[in-house]
């Protein structure tokens, strides 16, 4: 059975909340019912049928033909199935996602993977600020699953990350891994200033180094870490090149000593 396809008619006149358009909510619905789903974020009512041409198909495999930075909360709370966005996505893509796979063939806005608990998010372009981070008032960010960004990520990537893994194949902005509670962030390119800022626990791999390192990280020397072989095996299906990078000695920087100091940055030895 072919995919359920939403083809964007035109750039939306307002920001849209696409949270209702997830596989578990669309299963069994008719084209007419789907077209009536409201997506507006202002007082002006906008339904799915107004914004998209809908080609009914398997609700377990949803495709958005055409993207926009105004398409917010794509894949919000999805539990299974697949969503593919052929274009950009707005804020909070994969917010509270619990399972399945969301692919954004473009750039994603801020707070992608915020509160994510499971599943896979792949962003082929760049991710905005606070990837995996919590919204205001929340005590923790991403809590599970895996996020792969083929491009760059913005500031405070993995802010308050609690569990799960975020892979950035490009560069990361300032304060990567800030306030991390646990989990793993791997950055292949260079990270901005003060990576690991106030991280309590967790692992931050900076394969390309960082701009300015905080003096509150303690140098524990260069070592071979057997556990990195496990991490490499785990990420190999998602990022083969980065998996190979992991299998080498790393300088372990323990910190942030400004808080508990039980976290770590793996830094290039040289």
């Amino acid at each position: 059975m072919s995919a359920l396809v939403f083809t964007l008619r035109d750039t939306p006149a307002q920001r849209l909340d696409l949270a209702p358009l997830v596989p578990q909510r669309l299963a069994g619905m008719s084209e007419g019912d789907i077209a009536k789903i409201e997506l507006q974020t202002t007082r002006e009512r906008v339904c799915a049928g107004d914004v998209f041409r809908i080609a009914l198909g398997d609700a377990g495999s949803i495709v958005f033909e055409g993207g926009s930075e105004r398409l917010d909360r794509v894949g919000c709370g999805m539990t299974d199935g697949e969503i593919q966005v052929k274009g950009d996505a707005g804020v909070q893509a994969a917010r509270l996602m619990r399972g399945g796979k969301l692919t954004i063939n473009g750039n994603a806005g801020p707070w992608a993977a915020s509160g994510m608990k499971g599943g896979t998010l792949e962003i082929t372009g760049n991710a905005g600020d606070r990837l995996g981070g919590p919204l205001a008032g929340e005590t923790s960010g991403m809590r599970g699953g895996i996020v792969v960004v083929r491009g760059n990520a913005g500031a405070r990537t993995a802010d308050r990350l609690r569990r799960g893994m975020i892979i950035v194949e490009g560069k990361a902005g300032a304060h990567a891994g800030s306030r991390m509670i646990a989990g793993t962030l791997i950055v292949r390119g260079r990270a901005g200033s003060l990576p690991g800022y106030l991280m309590a626990r967790g692992t931050l791999v900076l394969a390309g180094g960082g701009d300015v390192l905080s003096p509150t990280f303690a140098d524990c020397g260069v070592h071979d870490f057997e556990a990195n072989a496990l991490m490499a095996a785990y990420i190999k299906p998602y990022s083969p090149a980065l998996a190979d990078v992991l299998r080498r000695p790393w300088r372990r920087l323990a910190g942030d000593m400004a808080v508990t100091g039980k976290g770590e940055i793996f830094y290039p030895p040289e």
């Binding site: 569990r163 893994m165 646990a182 793993t184 626990r201 692992t203 070592h223 071979d224 870490f225 057997e226 556990a227 072989a229 496990l230 991490m231 095996a233 785990y234 039980k262 770590e264």
Partner: protein
């Protein structure tokens, strides 16, 4: 004893009687095969019989580096006990004292199971607060800082309640040398069977036991019916031409594994022939009333 003769060797019309056990499996890795084996040998030492050792344990097989989670050479170890609580205790003590201490070692689950035993979840406290938990997908590992780096250990390992302990073959020959040759051939064949171990030294027990003793406090004593030096005085089970008896005890994760192991061992002993190997093959049982698993030799013939 009624018997059939195969390749000149008498095979008793009898059966091995075995018992249900709790079991688990581990994958132990290290920088080299030699050090992985060393850790496994140390852990499985003093693990011949639940009568005195608390657990029956041995190496199942060596693992190549592409079969292990961390891509290093490894060993698969099986561990059997009579209860889940005893198995947990033996697992924790043996891995903690023998694998954690071995240079460069790491320890992973060797069995998937709906029920689990604590592995790293118990040993992590050695880290004194410096231990680090990492979860990759559905697997959780502990990194415990030690003096040569880090001891990496999976959080849990699987438990099976369908394991079987006490499958056996009794090899009877004209001399110590020929009987030992038959036993060694059987052990070599059984070593190739997955999910089964022979916990006694080199896979062979020379002091098979019976239940009970004339002495108070001894739960088991020598199997006098199979002692060749008592042939003239006791209630012997041996024929006039038998001068040496060795037993192979088999534990398996499943009843099929035990049957396969006995089948392989029996075939190897019979293939050796009566001149170079055993004259007679039997099996140990308790009349069939104690153990739920019965392995009839006639059903296992090649």
């Amino acid at each position: 004893m009624q018997h059939v003769t195969v390749n000149g060797i008498r095979v008793d019309d009898t059966f091995a009687e075995a018992f249900g056990m709790r079991a688990t499996a581990l994958t132990i890795t290290a920088h080299s095969e030699a050090w992985a084996r060393q850790a496994a040998l140390t852990m499985t030492g003093f693990g011949t019989s639940v009568i005195g050792c608390g657990a029956e344990t041995s190496i199942d097989r060596m693992l190549s580096s592409d079969e292990t989670p961390d891509g290093r050479p490894g060993v698969r170890v099986l561990l059997f006990a009579v209860s889940t609580a005893e198995l947990q205790k033996q697992l924790q003590n043996r891995v903690g004292q023998c694998v954690l201490t071995s240079p460069g070692s790491a320890c992973f689950a060797g069995l998937e199971g709906e029920e689990t035993l604590k592995l790293g979840n118990a040993l992590r406290f050695f880290g004194d607060g410096w231990q680090i938990s990492k979860r990759f997908g559905d697997k959780r590992y502990w990194r415990v800082p030690v003096m040569d780096g880090e001891f990496v250990c999976e959080a849990t390992t699987g438990l099976t309640k369908k394991a079987v302990g006490g499958g056996n073959l009794i090899l009877m020959g004209a001399s110590t040398q020929t009987t030992l040759a038959a036993a060694e051939a059987a052990v070599a064949a059984i070593n190739a069977v997955p999910d089964a171990i022979m916990p006694f030294p080199g896979g062979i027990a020379r002091s098979g036991s019976k239940v009970g003793s004339k002495y108070k406090g001894a739960s088991a004593s020598t199997n006098d019916a199979y002692c060749p030096t008592l042939k003239g005085v006791g209630n012997t089970a041996l024929d006039a031409d038998i001068a040496s008896v060795l037993e192979i005890v088999i534990d398996g994760l499943t009843t099929e594994a035990v049957a396969n192991a006995m089948r392989a061992g029996l075939a190897a002993a019979l293939a050796l022939g009566p001149e170079r190997g055993a004259l007679r093959v039997g099996a140990g049982n308790y009349g069939g009333k104690l153990g739920p698993h019965h392995y009839h030799l006639k059903d296992l013939l090649p």
